[in-house]
């Protein structure tokens, strides 16, 4: 038996776990292969400051996927008749390399696109960016984090000069007096996190803003705090209104504003128009509740200065996944700044990163405008530094590419992308206006998908490359608190499966790429550290040896430092050292008349599933608990539309139609319906969402979709 200390494969909380297995050679030793391996790998929680030994249902069952019968075990090539046939790795890679070369020769380097994922390790995220720019010489790389953290990242960068989801340690929340959570259902998306809310709950200070009475909102019951239930898409106005009250009631931290910020006057003027009754008019949140909330936040902040138990404001995708998500996140930051929360020892603002490596994945060059170390690709000094590490001419690096939605819109278009590589993403389920994406993928000359399973995207590929799962590989992840942690190999991968690092090494060699592409995670990490040196996300003081000592490692971690658990204590990352207020204007007000079944759709996650469900839908215990999508709607709305609990409904707009069963519940506003986004086929919530994007972050409008809901009479066909 060997025990391996690693972390969960799923969300950004990255709960620590121990994988115990018989020797890695168990597979060969045992006659009946995979079944015995399943028995051989067991998961146990491991004590760690974030999860304190606990795991959620997803973590406990994660090892089941290592031996899933659905696993792809060798490269597959699409045949003329549309079926897939296995192929040798050398043949598959020769074919891919040939197609990449041909496409580039005929249509130019930017005709090859790359789509990455926020679940890839730091090493892979880094190497994928390098591979695209050095081996493919293409600018066309972006990733699914664009659908996740881009708005909060853009808002954090312009306010603080730096974006680290939580600029403090998760366990610092334990001491909080007041925690305001907007648009995040942590009790279901990262359940062990809620242990860190206990202090605020005991102080009666947990406030959850959500159009649904979610599991997280329920944590405010019985005197633990308050649930605020605005109409979808009005969170922006809500935040402006809270800022208005804080200013009007003189709850502003004046000393802090003067010492640590610039730009307050513009914000003061811009929120003057959002007096409480006008906010009530737009949000559905009554004035008394707005005032009570503003006062509580300020009281917590004052208490923080006196006793150390302060106020934290945390945002999630609910407020960020809007076509004005950057400005909405900025409004949350402005509120945090007027209260004097950010960069203190007792309070703070943070955004709750979603995907496993959603933090690290956005730092090292998977973004279309970025180079490792959270550097800008447009910055000549950044280009020179990174090109130096890569051993190439800075001028050979391409410029800014296209953000995810634009990149997907360019598929198959004239002058657009003809050949696409997809790593760690299932865009057919996760991208907005999903059917349009599906259709666009089909117009490509060549699609390569690397995955462990036949995801809905892999099904469309010309070549599917089977890759390692988390327990089969080495690497690092950067969790939601900016802590760099080690992912360690516990078992051998099946014989026909390879790591992406190896795949890119092989492809780079076939493409005669300059530079070196190591297949060893540790070597790639060392290079990443060098490339990030001097950047905002500086990892240069880190190494596997240091991480393996289990020393806490929070970036920035430049050589010679011991890392930065809490950011901004002395200064912000702008050259002037101050936090910058940015006055923002809410323009996307109102909603269409809700008549005859017209309602507002919001989407989100369930406890049992993760992202597009490619993994969790293949875990029996999870799939049994939540086998299909259910449309949550209020009983009054259901009654009006003649819909009964569990009856089939049709949810549609001019982009698509979802058919699923209804879940009638008073836990949702009567003007709102909810769909989880983990399901495939005609239960894809993203068939309905709009691919209109935020002009700053490129974030699509996921959280405010107008739909028509009706009872489906011919239910038999769908049962």
């Amino acid at each position: 038996m060997t025990a391996t200390a690693t972390h969960c494969p799923y969300c950004a909380l990255q709960c620590a776990m121990t994988l115990s297995s018989a020797a890695a050679t168990a597979r060969e030793a045992d006659a009946d292969g995979s079944a015995s391996l399943a028995a051989a790998v067991t998961v146990a929680g491991r004590d760690f400051p974030t999860n304190r030994g606990g795991l959620c249902k997803k973590g406990w069952t994660s090892a089941e996927l290592l031996v899933s019968p659905d696993r792809i075990l060798e490269p597959l090539l699409r045949q003329a008749d549309g079926t897939f046939e296995p192929a040798a790795w050398s043949d598959a890679l020769d074919l891919v390399a040939a197609k990449l070369r041909e496409t580039r020769a005929e249509f130019g380097a930017d005709a090859v696109g790359v789509f990455g994922g926020g679940g890839l390790t730091n090493e892979k995220a880094y190497q994928l960016g390098k591979f695209t720019r050095v081996a493919l010489r293409s600018s066309r790389i972006d990733y699914n984090g664009r659908f996740c953290m881009s708005s909060a990242a853009a808002a954090g960068n312009r306010a603080f000069g730096l974006d680290r989801g939580l600029p403090f340690r998760v366990d610092e929340l334990d001491a909080a007096d007041t925690i305001l959570i907007l648009g995040s259902n942590v009790a279901q998306t990262m359940p062990p996190f809620i242990g860190h809310l206990d202090g605020a709950r005991a102080a009666g200070g947990l406030v959850v803003v959500d159009p649904r009475r979610t599991a997280t909102a329920r944590l405010t019951a019985d005197g633990a705090g308050m649930h605020v239930q605005p109409t979808p898409g009005s969170d922006f106005v809500l935040l402006l209104g809270l800022t208005h009250i804080v200013i009007a009631e003189k709850l502003v931290d004046q000393d802090y504003l003067e010492a640590r910020t610039t730009g307050f006057d513009a914000v003061r003027r811009s929120v003057s128009q959002w007096w409480p009754t006008r906010v009530q008019e737009q949000t559905g949140v009554p004035v008394w509740q707005l005032r009570e909330l503003a006062r509580r936040l300020a009281a917590g902040a004052a208490r923080g200065a006196a006793t150390g138990s302060g106020t934290y404001i945390l945002t999630g995708r609910g407020v960020e996944q809007h076509a004005d998500g950057t400005d909405t996140a900025t409004a949350a930051i402005n509120l945090s700044l007027v209260l004097g929360l950010v960069g203190t020892s007792h309070s703070g603002y943070g955004t709750l990163t979603g995907q496993g490596n959603g933090q690290g994945g956005r730092e090292h060059g998977q973004k279309c405008d970025q180079l490792p170390g959270y550097r800008k690709i447009t910055d000549p000094a950044a280009r020179a530094h990174v090109a130096g590490v890569w051993g190439v001419d800075p001028d050979s690096l391409p410029g800014v590419g296209l953000p995810a939605v634009e990149l997907l819109s360019a598929l198959g278009e004239p002058g657009g992308i003809r050949c696409l590589l997809v790593h760690g993403s299932n865009v057919v389920v996760s991208a907005p206006n999903a059917d349009r994406v599906r259709a666009a993928l089909k117009t490509l000359d060549f699609l390569v998908v690397a995955d462990f399973f036949f995801s809905e995207t892999a099904v469309l590929a010309d070549v599917v490359l089977p890759v390692t799962q988390w327990a089969e590989e080495e690497g690092t992840m950067t969790s939601l608190e900016g802590r760099v942690i080690r992912r360690r190999q516990a078992v051998e991968a099946p014989g026909g499966v390879r790591s992406e690092l190896w795949i890119w090494q092989e492809l780079a060699r076939r493409l005669n790429s300059p530079g070196t592409f190591s297949a060893e995670a540790a070597a790639v990490f060392d290079e990443l550290c060098q490339a990030s040196a001097g950047g905002l996300a500086d990892y240069s003081g880190l190494s596997y040896a240091l991480l393996d000592s289990e020393e806490p490692a929070f970036w920035p971690y430049p050589v010679g430092s011991t890392g930065t658990p809490r950011l901004f204590l002395d200064r912000f990352a702008h050259p002037d050292g101050r936090a910058h207020f940015v006055a923002v204007t809410a323009r996307r007000l109102g909603a269409p008349a809700q008549v005859g079944g017209t309602l507002t759709l919001i989407t989100g996650r369930l406890l049992e599933h993760y992202q597009s469900g490619t993994q969790t839908r293949r875990v029996k215990e999870l799939a049994d608990a939540r086998p299909e999508a259910r449309l949550q709607l209020h009983p009054a709305t259901a009654e009006q539309l003649g819909i009964e609990d569990e009856a089939w409904v049709e949810v549609s707009n001019d982009r698509g139609t979802v058919r699923c069963r209804a879940q009638v519940s008073t836990d949702i506003r009567f003007d709102t319906v909810f769909l989880p986004f983990h399901f495939a086929g005609d239960q894809r919530a993203n068939l309905l969402t709009d691919d209109e994007t935020d002009p700053i972050s490129g974030m699509p409008e996921f959280k405010k979709t107008t739909v028509r809901v009706k009872a489906l009479v011919e239910a038999g066909a769908h049962v």
């Binding site: 019951a221 649930h227 109409t231 008394w288």
Partner: protein, 541 residues
Amino acid sequence: MSEKPERIVLVGYGPVGARFVEELLPLVRQGAATLTVVGAESADAYNRVLIAEYAVGNADRESLDITDTLAAREAGVHLRRGVGVTAILRSRRVVSLSDGTLLPYDRLVLATGARANIPTLDGVTRVRRDRQIPPTDAATLDTSGAPLPRGVTVLRDLDDAERVLAAVTAGKRIVVLGAGVLGMEIALAAAAAGGEACVVYHGEIPMARNLDRGGGSVLARSARRAGVTMVNHSRAESLLFHQDDDGVDRFDALICADGKQIHGDLLLLSCGVGARTELAQLAGLPVSTGVLVDENLQSWTDARIYAIGDCAHVAAAPRAGDSTAPPAGGPSGLIGPGWRQADWLAARFIASVLGRPDTAALAASASAVVMLKAEGIDVVSVGNTSADPGDLSVDDHAAGCASAPLHVSQWADPEHGRYVKMVTRDGILDGFVCVGMPRTAAELTLLFERGSELPADRSVLLRYDGPDYEPEAGSAFARDATVCWCNGVTVGAIADSAEAGNTTIACIGAATRAGTGCGGCKARIGDVLERFAAATAESAS
């Protein structure tokens, strides 16, 4: 697009004018238009909506700032403040200013706003504003008339607000004449601040323009409970004065037609506002309760002149043969519609100057929602709410009648200060009154603004303000209540597991994973087990 930049002149720099400036900045920045703003007040535009808050000390002067004048200047806007417009010379397309300069325009936007009405009272000099006889003296065009006696004020600008604030902070007795929204807000705020306040009004109920009888009486009752003296059915006739030490008369009491004398330290006249239309009238533009403009906000008779905000009376221009009676409606007196007009007109100007296709038509202003801003008393109303539940029914309605019948749903609980009336057509709100039920009011406002259908069971809306709304509802020990959120384990699953012999928290954890996430539910697992054990013991005995 013309070669020369379009010359735009804006008269008035209040909140609506300032909004128009902000929205037009892109056009000015790119040099396609010049914008000159003429404002009589020398202060920057401020948020007049909050003037009542300021007057009772709930907002400071800074928080009234609403626009970045510096940014406007930097963008190239010419600001002429402390200067009045004395005349519009339409044939020459210039306006003349009080400092003698002439300002040419291609488009002229009037945002001159409104002034407080001064009622006819013996003891108060009232400037005559006869609509039939236009004023001729330009110098008096933009003043608010003769000074009011000491101890008497209106509440419209910063100076007024400071007078009221001084009285409120000194705990003086304030007599408010008129029970409109503003009057009620001041009285309630003064009472909340510990002062004495008395509201004197004509009719039976306060806010008679906005509320039905039921809503009005509940408000009056709530206001009394909040410490405000409400004096209804009272027509004010004259003022009594006493002499201050310096020999100047000061307000002493208000005398009503029935002989009542109401004493106080400050009399606040809160009798509505009237549009500042003199400039337009002098220039021969049609004027009713405001400057008459069509749905494009263009003057009925001069396509180069526009009006927005409190001075604008939007009505379709009459065609030949139409009635010559003054059109219905008038300025709403609310900021929301004014801002929408400013936004829309700026967008329209940008489109036409740049030669782009016209923007969508200005949405017809639905009746504006009126909300009373007072802590602890919530009043929201909109639309026509005079109908009563017994008035109309589907049966009475003639078949084939063009408009759908009105339906009324009502909830009245005056004892507890709660009252709701919803007037609907085809399930969509035509108007509503909501007193003392803030969450319901907020939802009704959303439903009205969007024109959305109400839940067929209207009582769903009332329950938001009920004590049973919050999530405590339901027993923590119901079988389907979740105990462990991390692993989605219910009371039922724990009970079943206990029945199967897992009687400790550790055993339950191993069997169901309950408590193996954040661990926060372990105490509750213990409670469930204890209850289960007790139940088993009971059934065994």
